[in-house]
């Protein structure tokens, strides 16, 4: 699980161009949108691409990902249960 979380953080930093950010700086439980990492609607769509590209998970819309994208821990849980690669 720890490895998965680290990989997810790295993939997010890379895809979302979070300049000068390291995986250690992202709190596993902090909200990704709003106050936490401050991600926006385009980033939400980008998270869908990350899940598809690296884990073979297909979400139809950001609405479907709303619960999943709450925090790094939520994403990691979801990926562990639903990943196809």
């Amino acid at each position: 699980m720890e490895e998965l979380i680290f990989n997810l953080k790295t993939q997010i930093i890379d895809a979302l161009n979070l300049e000068d950010m390291t995986p250690e700086q992202i709190d596993n439980d902090a909200p990704l949108f709003g106050d936490g990492l401050g991600l926006d609607s385009i980033d939400a769509l980008e998270l869908i691409v990350i899940l598809d590209k690296h884990y073979g998970i297909k979400l139809a819309s950001p609405a479907e990902g709303k619960e999943v994208f709450k925090s790094i821990n939520c994403i990691a849980d979801y990926v562990q249960k639903h990943r196809t690669k």
């Binding site: 979070l18 691409v49 598809d52 950001p62």
Partner: protein
């Protein structure tokens, strides 16, 4: 104010205005549902030309986009006596992506690919134009922006006539991008309907011939307003503020009395239609029928502002307001009357609204009559009532190249060179918490330049009165290549919305507007090469027509990580 003396629509519904209007009048749709398209997987509903139509339209040696523009402009020329060989005739093309379907991932593979202004130049030469053409890339409001620019350049005295073509071709490039935005409906779109599921992409070229108004009986582009809502580069502002302000600017009591309808953008995405209903309703047009044609053509991007205005001219010539195909039950909360049945009217004026990525909006007013009040509240756009030219002071200027930054001619110390220089300057001088590091190089360059000029310099200017006017040749070329690489490899179809958004070169204008709270007009003009006298002439025609309190304008271009240049100025109106 300019007269519209001829038109053409080249779409899957037909190759002339007459054919297209007849099809729309019969309630026909050019949308087709298909599984997989242009190598992009999934079920799509698209306004796409048939193979047979493509065979007859696609010209040897020209890209598909160029072929569409050629056909549309040539047909419009054949219907009027405007001479393309006169230096006083301009060709101006509004397009969101131009001929990007020909782009290869490496420069050598390009073949037919030309940056939009060069593609337009090729078409202009093929049609015998002698003046240097222009392209405008303002996402979905490109067609409306091209009309406004043509109107101003005619008013400025530089030209007597302009062929204004709005055009976009369907490509895997655009399809994959909107797929990643999850904005596509697999069924025919349903503007303003409670069950709307998103947009359908369409391809089309549509042309209007604008000439200096001579008072004859014809349709006119009477007035228009373009602005920015400074909300978000891809999400429409929920209040509809931009659309509302644009409408209010062209709406005098006399205009209101004459309005037959509003022809809305109506893309059938959840957010656009909701936003637009608020904007139209809040502008006080609750009782004016609203029509939208996206279920006939799909969303034709750069063409939409031209093709949809032409269809309404045809319908009002018959004394009709057409129903909105696909609409059944109201699904927006703004107080508007979506037209769901054929209405007869004796009125001969309408407003066309447009909104697009980069948070830009527009409202254009067309009529068969001349409004007496036009120009009383703001600068008139007709040469007959030519205003005293506004005088501007140069406040600041800058140059950015891979080798450094110069502010008002003085070199600013910096360690880094090339793309890293931009990051260094951003961190040292702006560091405004924006999406800077999510931008492509072109956007970073323009954003940094505008930010450095705007910093502490715009406080005394009302947000609605600050404008951006940028010129480029290659625009988003680097982002275009990157986007292509996200979906063109076999078995690796992962188009990225963050990359795709940067392929619209006007996106950065939205980023700048958002961070600086600029709510005036924001326009990206594409020209075949850097030409400072031309940039000054277009900037002057723009300030004369719109009189912003302040404007940031100039050249921004990049072709490589190590080859870029920005030459920007901040001017303010003389007090």
């Amino acid at each position: 104010m300019t007269s519209i003396v001829a038109t053409n629509i080249t779409s899957p519904l037909g190759l002339s205005t007459e054919e297209n209007y007849a099809a729309v009048r019969r309630g026909e749709s050019g949308l087709k549902t298909m599984d997989g398209c242009l190598g992009v997987p999934g079920r799509f509903c698209l306004g796409i030309f048939s193979q047979e139509q493509k065979r007859s339209l696609h010209l040897e040696g020209f890209s598909w986009f160029e072929s569409l523009v050629l056909h549309s402009v040539r047909d419009a020329l054949s219907r009027c006596d405007v001479d393309p060989a006169s230096p006083r005739t301009l060709l101006i093309v509004g397009t969101s992506t131009g001929g990007v379907e020909e782009l290869g991932e490496t420069p050598d593979k390009d073949g037919l690919f030309l940056a939009p202004p060069l593609a337009v130049k090729k078409v202009a030469q093929a049609l015998g134009f002698v003046s240097e053409p222009l392209a405008v890339s303002n996402a979905c409001i490109s067609g409306a922006t091209a009309q406004m620019l043509a109107d101003r350049l005619i008013a400025s005295g530089a030209y007597d006539s302009a062929l204004v073509c709005g055009a976009d071709a369907l490509s895997a490039f655009v399809l994959a991008g909107f797929f990643s935005f999850k904005a596509l409906s697999a069924a025919p779109c349903r503007p303003f309907d409670i069950e709307r599921l998103g947009l359908n992409i369409g391809e089309c070229a549509a042309t209007m011939v604008l000439t200096r108004d001579d008072g004859s009986e014809c349709w006119r582009l009477c007035d228009g307003c373009l602005n920015n809502d400074a909300y978000h580069v891809s999400a429409p502002i929920p209040s509809g503020d931009g659309v509302c302000r644009a409408i209010q600017k062209v709406l005098t009591p006399e205009v209101r009395e004459s309005l037959a309808c509003v022809t809305a953008h109506g893309t059938a995405t959840m957010f656009n239609d909701q936003m637009e209903s608020k904007g139209i309703g809040n502008a006080g047009l609750c009782d004016i029928p609203v029509t939208a044609y996206k279920a006939h053509f799909g969303h034709t991007f750069g063409a939409s502002g031209v093709v949809e205005a032409i269809i309404t001219m045809c319908s009002l010539d018959e004394g009709l307001v057409l129903p909105t195909l696909g609409f059944q039950e109201i699904g927006v909360s703004g107080k508007i009357q979506v037209c769901d049945t054929l209405l007869s009217t004796s009125k001969r004026a309408f407003i066309k609204t447009q909104s697009g990525f980069g948070s830009c909006n527009g409202a254009l007013l067309y009529a068969k009559s001349v409004f007496s009040a036009q120009g009383s509240s703001h600068a008139p756009s007709s040469a007959q009532f030519a205003p005293v030219p506004a005088q501007y002071d140069l406040v600041k200027s800058l140059r950015i190249t891979p080798d450094g930054l110069w502010l008002d001619g003085e070199a600013v110390p910096a360690q880094e060179r090339g793309a890293a220089l931009l990051s260094e300057l951003f961190k040292a001088r702006l560091a405004d918490g924006s999406r800077f590091f999510k931008m492509d190089l072109f956007s970073r360059l323009a954003y940094l330049g505008a930010g450095l000029l705007a910093k502490d310099a715009l406080e005394d200017c009302p947000a609605e009165d600050i404008a951006l006017l940028f010129f480029t040749q290659n625009g988003s070329l680097l982002a275009d290549r990157k986007h292509l690489s996200t979906f063109s490899a076999p078995d690796a179809f992962y188009p990225s919305p963050a990359v795709f958004i940067n392929t619209l070169p006007n996106i950065v204008l939205g980023e700048i507007a958002l961070s600086q709270q600029i709510k005036g007009e924001t326009t990206l003009v594409m020209i075949p090469e850097r030409d400072d006298s031309r940039i000054e002439a277009i900037a002057k025609a723009t300030t004369d027509a719109t009189r912003p309190a302040a404007m940031i304008y100039g050249w921004v271009d990049c072709t490589e990580e190590t080859a870029f240049r920005a030459e920007l100025k901040l001017i303010k109106i003389k007090k």
